[in-house]
């Protein structure tokens, strides 16, 4: 126990300053009202859906919870069910075998809801493109508010995308 506490004390606080929203990642006009945004901005619940990624984007989503980025301190939390979520964070090209599951998850998420597509694959299908097995970009299957490019996008870029989605445009 002593060693554990010593290690905590030695490590100190590693969390860095949070990035600002990146408005350029927005693909749809802000649909939510000011009042709702104000609430979401303080307590946003995200449900991640891997719709067919190579798992590279997941690595960076995990990293947003690491002590350096510490997404939770911004009031942004990953939740276990779409029914508890305000936002879906979707990775991958949407494989045809995940198309129904993604649509159902979207339907199960209560309104008002936001969708952020992650990675080159989420933005335009990436290297997998469209085929017998892949529907391509996320927007081909459900409406997307913000799309964050990168292969994979860095944790900072992912945070900038999430923040852009909950930022009021007015």
């Amino acid at each position: 126990m002593y060693q554990l506490l010593k290690q905590i004390a030695k490590t100190g606080i590693k969390t860095e300053e949070a990035p600002l929203a990146d408005e350029t990642l927005r693909v749809l006009q802000q649909r939510l009202q000011e009042g709702i945004l104000k609430h979401l901005g303080r307590a946003l619940a995200i449900r991640h859906v891997d719709a067919g990624s190579c798992n590279g984007c997941e690595l960076e989503i995990h990293a947003t919870n690491s002590p350096y980025y510490n997404l939770e301190r911004l009031g942004i939390k990953f939740v276990a069910s779409p029914r508890h979520a305000d936002m879906l964070l979707v990775t991958g090209p949407v494989s045809r075998h995940m198309e129904t599951a993604l649509k159902r998850t979207y339907e199960a998420t209560p309104d008002p809801k936001l969708v952020v597509a992650i990675g080159d694959c989420g933005c335009d299908g990436g290297i997998f493109g469209e085929s017998y097995a892949s529907c391509g970009r996320v927007a081909n299957v459900i409406p997307v508010d913000v799309a964050v490019p990168g292969c994979p996008p860095t944790p900072l870029a992912i945070m900038q995308g999430i923040l852009a989605a909950i930022k009021s445009q007015s």
Binding site: Q3, L4, Q7, I8, T11, K14, H48, V49, D50, A51, G52, S53, C54, N55, G56, C57, E58, L59, E60, I61, H62, A63, N65, S66, P67, Y68, F78, A80, S81, P82, G92, P93, S95, R96, H97, M98, E99, T100, A101, T105, G126, I127, F128, G129, E130, S131, Y132, A133, S134, C151, P152, T154
Partner: protein
Amino acid sequence: MAFEELGINAAPLPGAMPAFHARIDASELHAMCEKARSQKARLVTLWGSDETTRGGGYALHLALAFPSGLLWLSVPLDRGHPHYPGIANIYPSADRMQRAAYDLVGIHAQENPDHRKWLRHGAWPGGVFPLRKDFDIANCFPPAEDHYPFIKVEGEGVHEIPVGPVHAGTIEPGHFRFTVVGEKILRLEERFGYKHKGIEKRFETMTLEEGARLAGRISGDSTVAYAWAYAMAVEGATGGTEPPRRALALRGILLELERVANHLGDIGYLGNDVALSFGFFQFWRLKEDLLRLNSQLFGHRYLMDMIVPGGVARDLSKREADLLLDRLEKVRGEVATLKSIYDEHAGAQDRFIMTGQVLPELAEKMGLTGFAGRASGIRHDLRVDYSIPPYQQLKVQLASHTRGDVAARVSVRFDELAESIRLIQALVQQLPSGDIRVPLVDAVSGRCGVGWVEGWRGEILIALEAGENHRIHRCHAHDPSWQNWPALQHAVIGNIVPDFPLINKSFNLSYSGHDL
């Protein structure tokens, strides 16, 4: 030349790994596999191909690992009735691979106990085979229901818990069907294929060079291992393009960096899963430091696209090499401290020990591979078994354990982490001078190449056949998860449902690498 072990003629394949190729008749397949099994040869992978554009029918291929090297067996199959005797009774891990080969190529394993589809859900109808040459990659079918008959277990107090494909955390999609009594797991049945995105078909639209980027995206957490295996296969298929020694050393550094990053992250998560969130924060701090260093030295946090056919894409300067040595020394020290905290943490050890056990005998039967195999007494590591450059002079230490539980997998991961740091340091210190890339020799259509690499999870194999004009005729990619997923079904039996995430994470298998 004669391949003594099986008493057949096999042609040595050019390339870094000792590998041989032979053609056998379907009627010889069973006897050949029995003989291989009796000599403790492992089944690495099995796949199918369409040879109708070359005047043939279809073909079944398998790759077997012998102490002398890899044996790639091709079995030509009749165009009208492409079937062969299934080998799942000899190699149980063949079961799902045979079913996938049917879904994709339409070659049929007879006498297989399980004839359910595997990778196919509703994206294409039965009787249509995407990896056939007359199937157009853009061919889309209206989505259909996926009927999959799970095996039913009945009894008093028995009930089912279906989980997935969308899981509660940031996890890839797959379906787990638990049969439980109270909290105790009686049976687990897995169902995958959700992430199938047509990777192998996509390869066939690419040139040998273009394929490298795709190979690096089969399973993102193993991008280096796949890129290396792919590069090795292309180098073989182009008649033995030899990457410069400096490039090989850099490849070793990249692969070990990938191993270190993954073990750091997973060991952290394993702490988290047993309520030691201290472990998560500490190890993810170290992992993030390493990813940032990767980005600084190589321009990519996960080292994607660094290994290319013919060499590597980026060099390491003397100053950068020194920085790497310095940082790794610090990681080594920190990991040692954290390991002693994990070791002495009674709460964590209590959850780790005897949880999710795969005993050596079962591991051997199922063909468990990689670090999970080594934690269950399977003493194989490609870096040790076939010590080719750059591992030749490094005397890689094989980490192993025999208890096969979560604790054993954690222990092997810690050992491999430390060993990888030592290997990187040694490789950096002895970095040969010279070029980092050579041009590829032109590929001759029909030539085969094999890439076989010990990734952090286990052995990754790429089997490649060149087509006309430097294009890909067939590229089969194999992830070690194919062998290890079925073993997970056994590992959870008798455990409680809440321990499933812990057991699952201790293996951390790839869905994307499996579903292709």
